[in-house]
Amino acid sequence: MDWWTTFPAMDEQRLTSIKKAIDTGFREFTRSYGDSIEYIFTPLKAFLIWSEKLAISTPWPIVILFFCAIAYASTRSWRIVLGTAAGLSLIGYFGMWEDTMKTVSMIVASTLVSIAVGLPAGILMSRYNWLRMTITPVLDVMQTMPTFVYLIPVVMLLGIGKVPGLIAVVIYALPPIIRLTDLGIRLVSEEVLEAAEAFGSSPWQKLVKVQLPLALPTIMAGINQTIMMALAMVVVASMIGVQGLGQPVLKAIANQYFTLGLFNGLAIVAIAIIFDRISQAFGRRLQSLAEDER
């Protein structure tokens, strides 16, 4: 009755050989294609370096003004503008300006990449049901797979640094924008689509003039989620060499520097709140335009 109490697993040797085979296979793949894959990502790397330099080299008053302007443009609320200015000033005063700029440029870059990948993916998904059925489980895996697990192959392929960091962040932050783009387009009312059809719109005209504008509030909610998830990955990404607010936190964990951890943590929270309020308010303003006809 041994099989009753202990699960009849395959024998140790077999399991080891399977693991070995997969590992060797992947290592072979890395050795032969790693360089060319890295090469593909050089433009991305250049962009990351450029945006980080830009964020750091821009004088701080201009950066603060810039953020306040965006905050005002999207929220029209002086309270949020004031909060943005205060938050950024405190971060600077506590000596975390440069790290914060590095993190912000990373977040902006990964959000842009997520939009560039996620928006078309969401549009295609809303159009083809079979694609939706294929992508949905992939998104589920992306969202639930522990981050560290997919860090391993990414690091094996691309080493440590900005690009693998960005890829790790994008894998984690991509699902919401894909899902919500798909949802937003599917929610566009049948009647409006029929009207567009009746006036002889081509599929492209329908997408650009009707579906995307009407889905925009939902898509903005997706972008908001994506930004928040990207911020949540800052500390994890710092483990594979992404600079910014994550690295001091990592150092604080290793050395039990409570205050260092707390300050940098609070700085992350501050940018998170700023980004969240701005993108949410923007989405809400779009929503209020579309509200009645839904």
Partner: protein
């Protein structure tokens, strides 16, 4: 583009997975109920034949589920027929390629919808130019056209408002302006005024009739409201369970309903507003009354004029102004309240299932 007539021939629409195959059975006469119970397919339209003359208003009337909205969507092929032909200006719409169909929708037809179907993120002007924008007309020309029609439907000054800031009646005026801007010879109106308050509805009917006297478009108007049908239609087709039970002028429908279904429909109608003197006069009879009325005059108007003139009789004149007959006041009055007592010479014999 000049006027286009529409000819619908042996149109069948069957909803269900095996429609192409089962439509043969419908053509052989299987009923809607049998089709549903035996094959679980919905026979939405059965052998529709309709000839819509260019420049006329054809009303298609029926209760919900009668297939009228399905029928109108066949004209611009928002719905594909299962079998049959739809000829618009001689072209068979059912055979158009995707590209040609798109061009046909841009040039030949414009549509007004029951629930307005405006783009909520665009203001009145931007909504109105939509059809022209799709066609690729230069922006300045788009706006010139759109502003003209916005003005005509009585929305001047509202160009920058969003649909959500307008009442239902005003939103439908935008829908109408959008359709008219397209300058298409065919106007499809799917229960266009059904969602509006009664007063606004009558108002919009007047707007449409007023425009039509000058535009002379081919208008297909769907409604479930008989008063609306009688007021707007040059001809009215009545649909029941996907079958056209009668097609005729408003007078035909009221004077000689084809079956009990149509009778039930017209029972409550204000006959005085539909029937004309021509339908109740004694043809060829002369009178010494000084009052003469045109045969196209509606009965309620005729009664008012006869009472005003203190005349108990009146001569009826034809289109050429010559007297063709006479009426008595009591006959005119009685014709407004019950089946035209003596409907002389069966002037409007029932024209059933024509075409």
């Amino acid at each position: 583009m000049s006027g286009l007539g529409i000819e619908i021939r042996h149109l069948y629409k069957l909803f269900g997975s095996d429609a192409q195959h089962l439509v043969r059975q419908a053509e052989d006469g299987m009923s809607r109920a049998d089709m549903l119970s035996r094959y679980n397919h919905v026979l939405a339209l059965k052998d529709i034949n309709l000839n819509i003359e260019s420049g006329r208003i054809q009303v298609i009337m029926g209760l919900s589920g009668s297939g009228k909205s399905t029928l109108i969507r066949h004209i611009n092929r928002l719905i594909d027929p299962t079998s049959g032909q739809i000829l618009v200006g001689g072209t068979d719409v059912t055979t158009l390629s995707t590209r040609d169909l798109r061009q046909f929708r841009r040039d030949a037809t414009a549509m007004v919808f029951q629930k307005f179907a405006l783009l909520p993120h665009r203001n009145v002007l931007e909504n109105t130019v939509y059809g022209l924008e799709i066609k690729g007309i230069p922006r300045a020309e788009q706006e010139r056209q759109a502003c003209k029609w916005i003005e005509r439907v009585g929305l001047g000054g509202y160009e920058q408002r969003l649909p959500s800031q307008l009442s239902g009646g005003m939103q439908q005026r935008v829908g109408l302006a959008r359709a008219l801007s397209n300058d298409a010879p065919i106007l499809l109106m799917d229960e266009a005024f059904s969602a509006l308050d009664p007063l606004i509805r009558v108002d919009m009917q007047s707007v449409l009739l007023d425009l039509q006297t000058e535009l002379r478009k081919t208008i297909v108007f769907i409604t479930h409201d008989l008063d609306e049908a009688l007021r707007l239609g040059d001809r009215i087709a009545i649909l029941k369970d996907g079958v056209a039970v009668q097609n005729g002028t408003p007078e035909d429908i009221v004077l000689s309903p084809a079956d009990d279904y149509v009778s039930a429909f017209v029972k409550e109608v204000n006959r005085g507003r539909v029937l004309t003197l021509g339908a109740v006069m004694r043809t060829g009879e002369a009178t010494d009354s000084v009052l003469s009325l045109p045969s196209t005059l509606k009965l309620d108007e005729a009664i008012a004029r006869m009472i005003d003139a203190h005349a108990s009789e009146a001569a009826v004149t034809g289109p050429d102004g010559q007297a063709t007959g006479a009426v008595r006041l009591n006959e005119v009055v009685s014709a407004t309240i019950r089946d035209a007592g003596r409907a002389p010479e069966e002037k409007s014999a029932p024209r059933l299932r024509e075409g």
